[in-house]
Symmetry: C2
Subunit: 129 residues, 2 copies
DNA sequence: CTAAAACCTGACGTTGACGTCAGAGGCAAG
DNA sequence: CTTGCCTCTGACGTCAACGTCAGGTTTTAG
């Protein structure tokens, strides 16, 4: 498949795919005329890249971890990198959970009053705690 | 307290505090000579700002949500904003949890072998899946 | 065959949360 | 009083992950 099709299937921009190649996250064959050609597996790989980006990992880290995440093959230093990133992600999950709880507090304390028989206030209303 | 002390207590840079003021996230009194003066509560407020930044909210969103997060007072549109951000954070937690699981898979499959009596391989070793 | 659509490289633009530097003024200690 | 640290404003620098544009080639549809 060519780059446009991969972009559509993976849900990213063409520019992003070229950028991934530049960062050595994603390789491509080339046709005789120089156009990029991808195998079907590239869709999953792009998905994985997106997932790692979403976890806050920069390209540099992803390019180091990608081969072992895909193949399971790993060196001992890489294991430490993996463990470090894992704990980073874990901390971020705890932080986000805490933040979500804080928002939930506000949402529930204001929302419960409407569920206890009071009418839903009109738009633009200011509500006290 | 002056800006340097607040920065130290809150664990952020002086530049960050001035930036927060520029973004109207953090107000300050001024001394006769123009120096910023903060109350003790500013430490917590900065912590809250940091937490919201860590959750991926941009300044524009934080400045809208901050008053209601602090006071609990809220308008109906703001409630929708809060709910939207909550679901965004929730989705991010799920994504991170999935990513963490993926890293865990690699870590456990390689680490368990060491716990089953095999010697720990030397640094620089490449391990098969 | 031709026009539209897709692709190429190269290069500059964008955004957010600050870092950093310049030049000038303020404040407590000796 | 002056030395050394803190603070001020203003302005430019940074970094990552792309967006966007220019100018040219390739592929596809009719």
């Amino acid at each position: 498949m060519r780059i446009g099709e991969l972009a559509a299937k993976a849900g990213v921009s063409v520019r992003a795919l070229r950028y991934y190649e530049e960062q050595r996250l994603l390789a491509s064959e080339r046709s005789a005329s120089g156009q990029r050609l991808y195998a079907d597996g590239a869709v999953d790989r792009v998905g994985l890249i997106q997932q790692l980006y979403a976890a806050g990992l920069p390209s540099r880290t992803i390019v180091e971890l990608l081969p072992c995440v895909e193949t399971g093959e790993v060196t001992t230093e890489l294991l430490h990198r993996l463990a470090a990133e894992r704990s980073r992600i874990d901390a971020q999950i705890r932080s986000l959970t805490s933040t979500r709880g804080r928002l939930d507090d506000i949402l529930t304390t204001t929302a419960t009053s409407w569920c206890t028989g009071e009418p839903c206030p009109p738009a633009g209303t200011t509500l006290a705690p």
